[in-house]
């Protein structure tokens, strides 16, 4: 791996940094935390107008995975709303890889304008990590499909125009071989969205599908081959599209706080030895998170599939983030419990926010345990045990 970025990548990063400094206002950040929706369509639209969005589709156009990583890394470091964008661009990448001309015209081209979003419909109330056991059913009647079931954690469903929906189409074959993927327009009759509040500010949803009818043209990939489409999505996603530098914005907030907060003997928190040790350790964690992510992007850019490497980056970044958040919250004492808007809240409430948000990061996008299985089996060659 080359530690020196190419000139093209450096120019791209400068363009992204400039865009962020000119377009990411405190109103956008505030709104995102007030509403719990980490997606801003006008921000996405401006990204598209700047020509940066097409580059955010993995495998599309002339942007390579290193630039994809740079875009999401800069958004993550800046604390911009990118959750909705990451999922949307992931779906765009899946369409680009396996979609039909109809999908490209009807969906992909619209996603590239920044005005539209997609959400993921994989997990169900009873099937999370064991996603191959899902029971939401799609039945073919002539040239139409009738879908019935329920999905959980359909984050951004309320912002989305389509859901990438994994369904059961055959129960007589091994479970991996009986699923089919659809792109279902969210305005189809029979879909209901219920918000699910979380312990952090972000909102997610449960979605219900009651005799939802779509034409066969909304099927993505072959019948009963939905697992392969999932595989494409996972390979595009892992490690590259944000989520591997969450302690960078946290450290920035913590530094601002430590530089102005009194500690013992009239000194400041920033002079406290334990504080300084933890700042140093966080800086190392942030570097290692960056290097593991860049390595995954590098493998993808040179034609490989960084499945295992993405798992390594994901486990490392999320588990260390939780550790770091715990350190700083404890160091802040009572004020580390105070939330956004509260008088005297440590780091203006960011420490409380990150401490609320951190637990989900080792769960969503593949739990640490699923990623450890992946590494144990595919990297260490240990026997499969499920």
């Amino acid at each position: 791996m080359d530690f020196e970025l190419s000139q093209k990548a450096i120019d791209f990063r400068s363009q992204v940094k400039k865009f962020i400094s000119e377009n990411l206002t405190s109103e956008i950040t505030l709104k995102m935390h007030e509403t719990g929706t980490f997606n801003d369509k006008s921000f996405n639209e401006s990204l598209a107008a700047e020509g940066l969005l097409a580059g955010a589709v993995p495998g599309y156009g002339d942007r390579d995975p290193v630039e994809l990583y740079l875009l999401f890394n800069e958004l993550e470091k800046a604390g911009a709303p990118y959750d909705g964008l990451a999922v949307t661009m992931l779906v765009a990448g899946v369409i680009n890889a396996v979609g039909t001309e109809f999908h490209r015209e009807e969906v992909l081209n619209k996603l590239l304008t920044g005005k539209h979003n997609c959400c993921l419909g994989y997990s169900e109330p009873d099937y999370g990590s064991d996603v191959a056991s899902i029971i939401t059913k799609a039945e073919k009647i002539e040239n139409r499909w009738v879908i019935n079931g329920q999905k959980m954690w359909t984050t951004m469903a309320h912002e989305s125009d389509w859901v990438l929906l994994l369904t059961r189409t055959n129960s007589d074959v091994p479970k991996h071989k009986g699923m089919t993927m659809f792109l279902v327009p969210m305005n189809t009759p029979g879909i209901e969205i219920q918000p699910v509040a979380t312990m952090a500010s972000e909102r997610t949803n449960a979605t219900f599908y009651d005799n939802v009818e779509v034409e066969d043209q909304w099927r993505l990939g072959e019948i009963d081959d939905g697992w392969s489409v999932m595989g494409v999505a996972l390979a595009l996603e892992r490690g590259v599209m944000g989520g591997t530098n969450p302690a960078v914005p946290l450290l920035k907030h913590v530094l601002n706080w430590a530089e102005t907060t009194p500690s013992e003997n009239k000194s400041l928190m920033i002079d406290n030895a334990l504080m300084r040790e933890r700042i140093a350790r966080t800086a190392i964690i942030n570097q290692v998170g960056q290097l593991l992510t860049l390595r995954a992007a590098w493998i993808a850019a040179t034609g490989g599939m960084p499945g295992v490497e993405g798992s390594m980056a994901k486990i490392y970044a999320s588990e260390e983030y939780q550790k770091v958040v715990g350190w700083f919250q404890q160091m802040a004492g009572a004020e580390g419990l105070l939330s956004f808007g509260a008088e005297d809240a440590a780091a203006s409430g960011w420490i409380d926010y990150d401490a609320r948000h951190a637990p989900v990061t080792t769960i969503y996008g593949g739990t640490s345990e699923i990623n450890r299985n992946n590494i144990a089996e595919r990297h260490l060659g240990l026997p499969r045990n499920r």
């Binding site: 791996m1 530690f3 020196e4 470091k77 530098n245 960078v248 450290l251 920035k252 530094l255 530089e259 920033i270 002079d271 030895a273 300084r276 040790e277 700042i279 140093a280 350790r281 800086a283 190392i284 942030n286 570097q287 290692v288 960056q290 290097l291 593991l292 390595r295 295992v308 490497e309 798992s311 390594m312 980056a313 486990i315 490392y316 345990e369 990623n371 450890r372 299985n373 590494i375 144990a376 089996e377 990297h379 260490l380 060659g381 240990l382 026997p383 045990n385």
Partner: protein, 341 residues
Amino acid sequence: MSADQETIQDVFSSFFTEQTGPESARNSMPLGFDAKAWERLSETGAPGMGVSLPAGGGASLSDLVIVAEEAGAKIAPLPIIDHVVATRILENLDSLEPEVLTGTLLAGLAIRPVENGVAKSVPTGSIANRLIALDEDKLLLINDEPPNKSLPNHGDLPIAHRGINGATVISEGTEATEVFERGLNEWKTLISAFLVGITRSSIEMTVDYVKERHQFGKPIGSFQSIQHGLADLPGLYDGARLLVNKAAWAGDREITGEINLTDNEISDFATLSSMSLIFAGETSLQATDRGLHYHGGYGFSEEYDIQLFYRRARAWSQILNSPSDECLLLADLLLEDNGVK
């Protein structure tokens, strides 16, 4: 890795496998040095590889990192890292003797400053014929007879205290402290690579062991608790390896690097070498700790190799200073450039 670097890796991997390894480490106790293997290494020209090309070397820090990782993977009881760093310093100060270049005389580095006329717990203290030591703003070359007797220690290393009587001053003032600091950063980077090698081997030997060791009628490596304990390690190994390589890359560049803590953009050599030592150290502690544990009682017995790696990981990761103190030095570097004292 370039084609040349792949060759370096092949050559040194073979050398350390054939000439050193755990048996050599055992046989060289209690001194902690395998003189025969050093002679053979000297025949390859390796002791002089780190000096400039005209002086007969030409290896970059990135090249040397490869050698150091392979040495660590076989816990070679050879002072190759200290020697190479010392030759680079001595060449800089026009003090390089031909016998040091060839490895006939062993050179080393008193990594901690001299206190009250003594360089304490020097990692090559019992064997080095030439020892570079910083005494306030003077750089000394200690050249008395080495004691050839090591202080008994956790990592079976050739550790000894050395006095400075009769030492020659080879540099003074800012030059002395700057040259020493540069050398120490190179030492940190290369020791980190050695620790990365220890980590790699510990993971490999433990994975092999859990595939073979049966309990309850199955290989213990089929149990998820053990799989998950091991699955954390490859990411840490890769992360440490990337960080050490980045430090070497920064050390080889001729331009000054950047320290931007809040933007997570760091290309400064001193900062990266410090980060490497802390992280590669911790990673090696975790890898050898889990490795020893999954070997069960055998891991604790002298007969098995994992305990050799376990003890060396601890020795090299804290022989310079406590990791917490290294973090404080790192914090000074990180916060100074951000307008924070």
